[in-house]
Every structure is written in C-alpha cells, then in structure tokens.
Symmetry: C2
Subunit: 499 residues, 2 copies
C-alpha cells in the first residue's frame, strides 16, 4: 500500500463537509447526540466544515436546516455519518453513490454481528461502485479533538437519582496515543480510563464489523499521522492476516503498536464470535504474527494502557538489563521479581559502578548501609538529593539499559524536590526511566502526577512499572534487530525535547 | 500451639500500659512521632492505657512526665516501644527484664539486616530470660485503631514546597482485613492504598527481622481475632517452615490467608537477602507450602489487595465454573479469557437456563439479539432492569459457581438503579459475585464505590475482577476438600447479614 491509499482515509478525520443521516431532536437517540457533538464543535469553531442534518421529518435541528435526503444537499459531501435502522442503510448508500460521497461512518448495528451478513455485503457492494470507504457498521466511529469530528453517541454526562449530573463518557485531553478498537464499548471505556489518568490521545477510531476499512489500513494511515506517536490496537480478530503482517511490519519500524487481542481462550473465542461475528482463530497464530511484525502484545487491559503510556513518554531500551533504584526494600524486590518474570534481567553493576557507589557511601552522600549492587536501596534514610546522584550514576553504567525508580513518598526525609532533579538527570541520557510510588491518597497522587508531567511515566505498583519497562525493552530490542533503533531514538528525543 | 500462646500476643494490641523509650520533643524523630501518636490517641480517649515517655534528657514531653529509665516508672508495664540506637537496646532489654515487662516492639534498625546478627541474638537471649515477647527489630510495629496503639513513625502528612500540607501516610478505616508484613515500607504503602480505596483493616503488624515473634505466631493470634476476616501476609522469607505449615493449615480452615511472597526470582532473592537478611530459598518450595496449607498466593501487589477485598466481602465459590454477565462484548471476552487463564471455566449454561433466557428474549424482557449462553451480553440496549433478571437467572443455574458482572456505565440507558437490585438479588444466594466497571472519572468511581458499599467488590478492569474471582474459587475449593466449606459459608453469611 502506498501513501495515497492512507491519504484517502484522511477524510474520516478532516472532512470539509459532513451530513448526519438520522439526526433527530429526540435527546435520547444516537442521531441526536452525534449531531449535537458536531453542532457544538461547529459553534465553538473547532469543527470548521459544513454540517447538514438529514431527516425527512424535521425542518431544522439545533438551528441547522434539515434535508430529507443527502441528494438534496446543494454542496459537495465528504463524509456521511449513518445512524438509521440497518434495513434503510442500502438506500442511503445508493444515494451516497449518486452524491459522490467520499466516506461513510456507519454507526447502525444489525448486520453481521447478528447474522445479517448479506445486508452487510450489500452495502459494501454499493459503496465499492463509487469507491466510498466505509467505517463500521456497528461501531462508534471517530473522535478527533482537533477538527471536532466526534461520532461518539454515548452521553458525556448522566443524571443520578440524586439529581446530580456526573461525567459518564469523558473525552481525554490531546496527546500522542491513537486508539484503534474493534469494540466500541471497550473504546469508550478506554477514553474514560485515559481521561481520568490524564493521558492524552491523538485520534480515536472504533471500527466495529470492519466491512470495508480494516484495522490494518487504519494502522497504515496512522503511520503518516504526525500527531500519533504510539498506537493502541484492540482487536477480537484480524481480517486479512497477510495485509496485517505487511502493514504492521512497516508501521512498527517507525511507531510502536501495542495490541490487546481478546478471545485468547477457547471460551473467549466463542464469545468473540457472537460479539462481532469474529472468527478468532488460534491464539498462537496471533502471538506469532505479533512477534514477527514487532507488535507488542499486552496481557491485559491495565498493561495495555501502561505500555502505551511508557512508549509515548520514554525512548525504548536497547537491551534487557534494568537498574532498579528504591527507597523501600520490599517493593524493590517486587520490581526485580516482575522484571525477571518478564524476561528482563537485574544484574550486578559493573565493578566501576560498584566502586563509585562505595565511594558515595564512604563520603556520606548515600547511607552507609544502602544496598548498591542492583537493586540500589537507599533505605529509610533516603533524601531527595540521594536520588539525583544515584540515578545519574546508574545511567552511566553501560550495562544498564533502563531504570525503574521506586520513590515511596512515605519515608520522612523524602519530599518532592527529587522529582525535578531526577527528570533533569534523565534528560541527559537516551535510556528510558519509569517510576512507581504506591498509594492512593494525596501525596502518592501528587508524586505520580508530577513525574508524568515531567515525562517520566509513573505507576501505582512496582509490577506495573516493571511491565511498562518490558514494553520499552521489547520494542527497543525489536528496532535494534531491524537496525532502526538509533533512528527512532534520535527522532523521539528530538520531538520530546521540542515539546 | 494452643490458644494461650496466641493470647500472649494480645498485649501488643491491648496493652494496659505503654512506655516509649526514646520519646523526644524533636519533631523529625521517630521517637517523637510514635509518642505523639499515643499521646493524641490518649487525649482523644481512644488509647485508654497508661502512657510513659522515657528519655533521660527531658522533664516532660507533650505534657507527660518523662522518666529517665523504665525502672523508675512506678506502675506495672505491659509494653515497651523501643526507638533508641541499636547498641543501647541490650541495656534497655535488661531493664525490661527487671521491670517484668511483657512485650517489646523494637523499632530500631541496625541488627541482622546490616550484618549485626550477634547484637540481635543478644537481645533475644535477654528477653527469653523473662519471657518477654519481641516484635521486630527493624520494624514499624503495630497499628490498631480500636485501642489507639500506633507505632508508625512515618509522618501522616507532609508539607510541599508550595506550603500545602498533604496526606502522606494515611490510616485506613476500620474493617475486616489484617495486614501482616515483613517489610515496613510495603506495609505503609499498603495502608495508603487501602485508605484511598476505602478498604478497611482490622489490625496492622510489621514484624521486620522477626527475631522472636514470627509471622506464623501472628497468623495464629489472628485466627482467634473476631475482628479479622481475611489475613494479608507479605513475606520475603518464612522463618520456621514446619511451624508455618502447621499454623497456616489450622488458620485457613477458618480464615483465608493471602500471601505475597517477594523474592521469587533469583535476582529478587538476592535483593531480599540484603534487605532483611532473609534467606528466601527456592520459590517452588514456597509454592508447595502455600498450596498444601490452603494459603492463596497473589502474583503481584494489585492481585494481593484485590483478592483480600473479594474474600472480605464475598463467600467463597464451591466450584470453578463462572457465569459472566456483561453489557459490553469486548470487556466480557476479556473477563472470560482471564478466567480461563486462571484455571476457571466459563461453560455454556444448562439447557434449562438457556431456555429460560430464550423466553426472556421472546418476551422482550432482554434484547432480542442478546447473547445468553455464557457469557451473557445484554448489549448496548441494556437497561437497569435487565441486570436484575439476568443475575437472578444465572445464580439459579446449579452449574454456575459464581458470577462476574461487568456493568460498563457508558451505555445510554444504564443508570445506577441496577446496583441496589443486583445487591438484593445476590443476597438471596450463597454464591459469590464480583463486578467491574471501567473508567477513572466520576460515574465509574461512583458505580464502583456504590457496589463496594453494598458488599459486592468492584474492580476497574475485567481481568482484575476475574483474578479476584479466582481467589474466591481457590479458597472455596480448598475448604470443600477439607469439608469445611459449608461451615465457613454459613458463618460468613451470618456475619455479613448482621453487618
């Protein structure tokens, strides 16, 4: 596939004109929520395209003149969003052909996922006549904050029985991570998770039954997307294995792809089949395909997001040996355990590093009884300053490919001063660092958030941090094998330092 | 061991009189923080015992008359808390023998963990002369909210550079879970985690170098503790294997023990050795010991707490087959996958259940296209009422041993009404149920918290919920093999319904 092909998907994100077919005034309907999203974004000046509600029974919706059919719309139409019952969709698509529409997001369900494969084939056949690209059906479509394209029909807030209005489906802030998901429900759950954790996204695509545009084509589009640094891919099956392998191989040389593949168990595969009509196939085949194409597979939902955050914020590691720095013995051991369980090593430092640590202890810079052979345990006597010197020394050891820092804030003399100095030290090196502080109250949340803001991904458990490091290692080792590591790291750091 | 022996440990939690040796006015010192904890708790009427600061250089501390030695204290002394340099501890212990003290919490470090094994043996030898029980050294000691014994010396709040004071080491609310931990730092991190997640604890013990009182003795004490329903045990090594096996076997017939054993990898074991001088031994031996004695082993920190929460709130499952109920296909599959990865099954329902579900679909009670063979997928058309009928029907299927409910709140017609009705239905049965909602913003936090309050443990990811269910299954299957399941469940439900 060439860049032009990917270019054609751009209309889903940057349409000059959009019609919402099935737009309505009824507030509980998807057709209302979606049209309102566009209308609001247009009012705010975010959505800059032309906007047309289509509904034969309305004169106007939210102040926009309503059309009974897209064929009546006087101007050219880039994108239609279809929110009408499944049986009407073929008629709509015929009209789209007449109207020379470029792309359609079909939100409507009632196709292959409930056994109506024929109806789905019918709309594909119509669309193909005019080269209309289809996203969906049975999907949530697109959310792209910069242009105001937002076809998520789930209500942004809900009213509790107490009368209180609460956030129910938030939109996360702008960031580097693209979400590409087969499951719409998982997709909005992801948005909710990322919004709460203050992790930003570049683009969101839910592709549902993928009758036309495949997950692979979307990956290819995102390869050229300057705003996307990391791609999170949720799939239950992959449509064309060969296409996926080719595209994923191309993409992963430039951008990490993290995959969460559901349906790995036999009962899970059975459930997947009844969900989107997916034929999951043997899980081992997926494992092999991901490995071959440099796609990093997440074991579960939390790892999926944790890995995405790590790769968005830190350069990959060029080897498997990790330095662990802690102020708390137990959690340090937990991080080491999890590293080894995940194919990383935590080896004794080089003799030179050991001697340099000994000197720091002799000089009273570090506690006399600190363990310093890796892991480094600064003990309960830890101060802010100790982290700075220890991190610097560890980064200098050529055998250390990345650092896991545990900064348990509970210890008396540890304040928040070390956060900035550690971030400054880390910026001098091209090796990755991730951190963990344990706790769910004020100081822990403050510490983690401050690290995040300074570009060091922070995690709430030692094992989460170790698994995030695994992603940095696996991606780095893959790139190195393909002789692309240096190129990637140089570009990554350049972009990071610009930001 | 008999009950009397366990009884003797009660003095650590219910002392009639306490002396803090090394109490000081210097606010940054552990001796100050610990004395202040007792003094405040006494002022508030929580600590009802006599309280004596011991420090030869002070007249009084926080309004309490100060003694230069415990031998000068006019009354009997149950418990001493020792916060003086290691080299002075033997002298203190000699005085404790003279004074006929019953127990000592030795906070001081500088013993076996830094190679001073001899000094540690010396204090044990002195204590043994008079039968004084020692907790520690190199530990945080005890936190027991009901009697105000609080030897945690880590500051409850910290001052940021902004001048703001924030919670740093919170104390969780009162609840059913006992924390027994070798690592003090991990212990306070646990308190912070549990406080933030609104999970209550019954007692907290950090035992450090365990020169005298072992983890096993503490487990035995907690067996008789009415307030403790579940025991969370963090260890890096276990001192006397035989003692542990015997006691754990006895305890687990009545109360679940969940163990987080750090140092499972070879690098982790090396780190553990330098932390508390622990000889970790082969990890497989621990696995075998835990399995033999019915102790549930957590894979990582998050699972440790998640399992504790599940066993504190729900009865165990009597078999491995789980019903999964969801409103979101993808996350439902993720839960099923994780069940199967953890030795649980998600089998098709019995014919009768399938027919009853079909009838509900035919009657329009459930969506026509809902998947109902297990997992049950109520689809995006889900309403509050559907959960109530579906849960009830699933509980009635004799092949279902427990239920994982996924209630993704994002779907339009799902509000919070179903939470109470699901809790009511669940209360009719003796099988366990756990739930998951995904998201980190308002509605997700509200939903999970409401489920928690109604006794159904809620988790932020499908896999977390599945792993929590694993603990309920593994404990139930163990009890059943020992013919203790019925007895346990009857008592558990009685207590739950009283609460």
């Amino acid at each position: 596939m060439v860049m032009q092909e990917a270019d054609r998907l751009d209309v889903f994100f940057n349409p000059r004109s959009v019609a919402v077919i099935g737009a309505t005034k009824k507030i509980d309907k998807a057709g209302h929520v979606i049209f309102k999203n566009f209308a609001y974004n247009k009012t705010r000046g975010v959505f800059k395209g032309a906007l047309y509600p289509v509904n034969p029974n309305e004169e106007s919706i939210l102040g926009f003149k309503c059309y009974s059919s897209i064929t009546e719309i006087p101007d050219e139409l880039d994108l239609i969003v279809v929110v009408v019952p499944a049986r009407i969709v073929p008629t709509i698509m015929e009209e789209a052909v007449t109207k020379k529409v470029k792309a359609a997001i079909i939100i409507s369900s009632g196709f292959k996922e409930i056994g109506n494969g024929e109806l789905e084939e019918q709309i594909v056949a119509i669309a193909r006549k005019a080269g209309i690209r289809i996203l969906g059906p049975n999907c949530l479509g697109v959310y792209y904050q910069r242009t105001g394209v937002d076809t998520l029909f789930l209500p942004e807030t809900k009213i509790l029985t107490t009368g209180d209005e609460v956030i129910a489906t938030p939109r996360p802030m702008v960031g580097d991570i693209a979400i590409v998901t087969q499951s719409g429900a998982f997709g909005v759950a992801a948005l909710d998770f990322l919004a709460g954790r203050q992790i930003g996204i570049s683009k969101f695509v839910s592709f549902g039954n993928k009758c036309d545009v495949t997950e692979s084509e979307m990956l290819h589009y995102l390869l050229y997307d300057e705003e996307t640094r990391v791609i999170l891919l949720y799939v239950e099956d992959i449509k064309y294995g060969r296409q996926f392998l080719n595209i994923a191989k191309e993409v992963t040389l430039k951008k990490p792809i993290i995959a969460l593949k559901a349906g790995r168990s036999s009962a899970g595969a059975r459930a997947a089949a009844s969900h989107t009509g997916a034929i999951a196939g043997s899980d081992r085949i997926y494992d092999a395909a991901f490995e071959q194409s440099g796609v990093i597979r997440a074991r579960d939902m939390e790892e999926f997001f944790d890995m995405g955050k790590a790769l968005a914020m830190q350069p990959p590691a060029l080897g498997r040996n990790i330095g662990v720095l802690t102020d708390a013995g137990g959690p340090g051991i937990m991080a080491v355990d999890e590293c080894e369980s995940n194919g990383l090593t935590v080896e004794r430092f080089s003799e030179e590093t050991l001697q340099r640590f000994q000197k720091l202890k002799d000089e009273g810079v570090l506690p006399k009884f600190a363990a310093t052979s890796n892991p480094v345990d600064l003990t309960g006597s830890v101060t802010d300053d100790m982290y700075e010197v220890a991190v610097d020394l560890m980064f200098q050891d050529p055998s250390v490919d990345g650092i896991i820092l545990l900064g348990l804030h509970h210890l008396p003399a540890l304040r928040e001063k070390y956060i900035e100095s550690v971030a400054q030290v880390a910026n001098k090196y091209s090796k990755p660092i991730v951190m963990c502080d344990i706790g769910e109250t004020e100081m822990a949340l403050y510490t983690r958030s401050k690290f995040d803001k300074l570009g060091i991904p922070a995690y709430p458990s030692p094992e989460d941090a170790a698994r995030a490091m695994k992603a940095l290692v696996n991606y780095g080792v893959y790139l190195k094998k393909r002789h692309m590591a240096e190129d990637y790291i140089v570009k990554f750091l350049k972009k990071k330092r610009q930001a």
